[in-house]
């Protein structure tokens, strides 16, 4: 039970911790501005996760049993668009819009990743034998997520290359978006496509590094054609559009 709780925390919470780190690394904003976004996103996410958790059983039966998948895909799309907006706006010095897009992105990804976690706790709430293991597992899980995020932040700071953080942010969002495709395939709204390669024997999805890379850059040991296509499109758009906008609308000295 202890290990299971830790693994669940790593699977569900690590992507959000990594996103916070990447946003800190790519942002030109002052840390205070970003902290306001993080606090707001934290409060709204708690409320959103609570509301989604309460309505999840009803939602799972709606839209011909596709309700949960559709909600998750919509949230992933909202998260992606918000990050795209944030990346385009961060060079234009529009603090209010930057705050809004940053908060929205964090809230969307946190709600998508964290909405099944409360059900795990609820499923074991009457088993007092497991209570201690769940509490310790949760603390360990948060500790691992936090230390991984800090380690990534320090590594990116030591490298002093914001380009690496930008590439990682694009890969993170591309991975999350491509992950949404599996949800649509799960409910048969999109057809399965052929698997392009299989690196399972070298680096399995279930291994520690595989899970970390899965959360950070959307690593999939055996991706299919649709996954790779969505990944490339989402990555390219997030990488190219902000630089295109910056070139079309260069910031004048006075606006700085």
């Amino acid at each position: 039970m202890l290990i299971n709780t830790v693994l669940l925390f790593i699977g569900d919470a690590l992507p959000v911790f990594l996103l916070v780190t990447l946003l800190l690394s790519v942002s030109d904003d002052t840390p205070q501005h970003l902290l306001h976004s993080f606090y707001s996103a934290f409060c709204i996410s708690i409320l959103a996760i609570y509301l989604v958790t309460l309505n999840l059983p009803r939602l799972s039966m709606s839209f011909d049993d596709y309700g949960v998948e559709l909600l998750h895909v919509l949230l992933l799309l909202l998260g992606y668009i918000s990050i795209l907006g944030y990346s385009c706006l961060k060079t234009q010095f529009r603090p209010r819009l930057s705050f809004l897009t940053c908060t929205l992105a964090l809230t969307s990804y946190a709600t998508t990743n964290g909405s099944s976690l409360p059900w795990f706790f609820m499923s074991h709430q009457n088993q007092f034998n497991n209570l201690q293991a769940i509490v310790i597992g949760s603390l360990l899980g948060i500790g691992i997520c936090l230390s991984t995020a800090i380690l990534l932040h320090l590594t990116l700071q030591a490298l002093q290359r914001s380009q690496i953080a930008s590439v990682l942010l694009c890969a993170f969002c591309a991975g999350q978006s491509a992950g949404g495709l599996a949800l649509l395939q799960q409910v048969n709204l999109i057809e399965e496509s052929p698997i392009l390669w299989n690196t399972q024997p070298f680096l399995a999805d279930t291994s520690e590094i595989g899970q970390l890379l899965g959360a950070l850059i959307g690593y999939d040991a055996s991706p299919n054609l649709n996954y790779v296509l969505v990944y490339i499109i989402a990555f390219s758009l997030l990488w190219l559009l902000p630089s295109y906008i910056q070139r079309r609308h260069p910031i004048s000295e006075s606006s700085q």
């Binding site: 299971n4 795990f120 609820m122 599996a182 048969n188 399965e192």
Partner: protein, 119 residues
């Protein structure tokens, strides 16, 4: 009027998808006392299948499979369905994420010539 048209189109699309879904072969997987029944499912290769998961327990469970790339919460005393395949021959493990020590199973995909015993 425009909204009614949009609604009708969406309903039509959903009906089309639903009709296609119900035409697919179905597999049934049950959860009792945090165990999957049957724990091993034989299915034919290169066929799309509808997997109905019925949870008889009073607690929720999450069907999870890295091999199949599927993840779905099944609430207490309820059922859900997901779609799998077409799959290549081989073994595809799945587990209950909320009770992984007990709820475990696998889907064995066999070639058409060997699928006499497939469900």
């Amino acid at each position: 009027m425009h909204k009614y048209l949009q609604g009708s189109l969406l309903l039509g699309l959903l009906s089309l998808v639903t009709t296609q879904c119900y035409a697919l072969p179905e597999l049934v997987l049950e959860i009792r006392d945090h165990l999957f029944f049957p724990s091993q499912l034989n299915v034919p290769a290169d066929k799309k299948l509808r997997l109905t998961i019925i949870n008889h327990d009073n607690t929720p469970e999450e069907f999870d499979s890295f091999d199949l790339n599927r993840e779905k919460v099944i609430f207490a005393n309820s059922q859900t369905r997901i779609f799998i395949g077409p799959l290549n021959p081989g073994e595809y493990a799945f587990f209950g994420e909320f009770n992984p020590s007990t709820a475990r199973g696998k889907i064995i995909v066999v070639n058409h010539t060997d699928d006499q015993n497939a469900n």
